[in-house]
Symmetry: C2
DNA sequence: GTCTATAGCCAGATAGAC
DNA sequence: GTCTATCTGGCTATAGAC
């Protein structure tokens, strides 16, 4: 791969800053309440400049989701290289990471109902590609964990996979954090424990 | 209680129709994408007439949530009168009902991030009152189920209660339904089973 | 590519007649 | 209380100079 020119590097850094700001705002207020003006102000550039980098608000959100999936895939790859771990332990580590991101207020949340956004995402090749990669890695671990009898083989792998994804937007950690009675580690421990308990085979 | 005059009855019926429409639209599109124009069109009256009944869009949503909590309380009361049932069975029935409502597309969903809406709800006495009543009933059943050893006494009742509420907006049933592979009863059965399994005491 | 300024639109809320 | 017509503000997106 060719070295990037200086101008291209500057471009990359700026776009990273934009996507990071979008990620923060999506986590904080969600897609509908996030305004493009805020994003521009957060980055410190004019709104018109934003539109030179990304053609629409939906494209901004899609870029943030791509970034999230890239981070996720990095965590997955890291876990894949841990020697001698059981599949369920790898899953455990990934879900723990997602819960920590969520509690840190860095998990972008998209409304599942917004149709213009859905349209953008299902047309976004890189997004779909990454989503499939993550799903396939996690799916393989789920099947392996079922063979290991760490996860109930009676559960459809599909149900388990969706449940894993759902942990990324579980409202329970937020409720507990809002209560203010418990620290983040305690909350993560409870939610993780409850979740993996639900998957264990009955004896 | 005095008999309602004919005019008052008409008013009641109309307001019921409004709240039912809001409930439907909230379930379908969520608060941010729901427009007051749509509500008016759905009910078949002019938008200005809506504002004679409810002072704001937020008030409309609050009314829908009050209606939901009233229905919930009715289900709770019904379960409270079942003779000889264990507390965990009563909880089971209520969560099942919530999942069925959700799968039927009748569960209004509010964005937890919208601050104008939060402000409205926090200041809404009837809403808070109902929410507390539901919480107290469910909380008592949780404590009882822990004493019965149907729910792990090691779990804070708070964590269990929040997890129960979270089932009402669990995305997993929706994912499975969108997959189109399974019927509603099957989906409800899996989600219910997974959830109550997670609460059982370890042996 | 960056800016200022503004177009264009849409949704929440209101005026005022009946 | 119901309507039609309108106001108002805020938001996405763009024009056009530099």
């Amino acid at each position: 791969m060719a070295r990037l020119s200086f101008r291209e590097q500057v471009l990359r850094v700026r776009e990273d800053a934009i996507v990071a700001a979008v990620n923060r705002l999506l986590a904080d207020k969600g897609f509908d309440l996030m305004t493009v003006d805020e994003v521009a102000a957060d980055v410190g550039i004019a709104k018109a400049s934003l539109y030179k980098h990304f053609p629409s608000k939906e494209a901004l959100a899609a870029a943030a989701m791509v970034r999230l999936l890239q981070r996720t895939l990095a965590v997955v790859d890291e876990q894949a290289q841990v020697e001698g771990a059981r599949a369920v332990q790898r899953l455990h580590a990934v879900v723990r990471w997602a819960l920590e991101v969520q509690l840190a207020g860095e998990m972008p949340s998209l409304p599942s109902q917004n149709s213009s956004l859905r349209a953008e995402l299902i047309g976004h090749k890189e997004y779909l590609d990454l989503l499939m990669q993550v799903s396939e890695h996690l799916g393989a671990w789920i099947v392996q964990a079922q063979a290991d009898r760490d996860i109930d083989p009676g559960l459809p792998a599909e149900v388990v996979l969706y449940s894993v994804f759902a942990r990324a937007c579980d409202p329970v950690p937020g409720f507990l954090k809002a209560g203010g009675q418990h620290g983040d580690e305690q909350i993560v421990a409870w939610v993780l424990d409850l979740f993996f308990r639900s998957l264990r085979p009955p004896r």
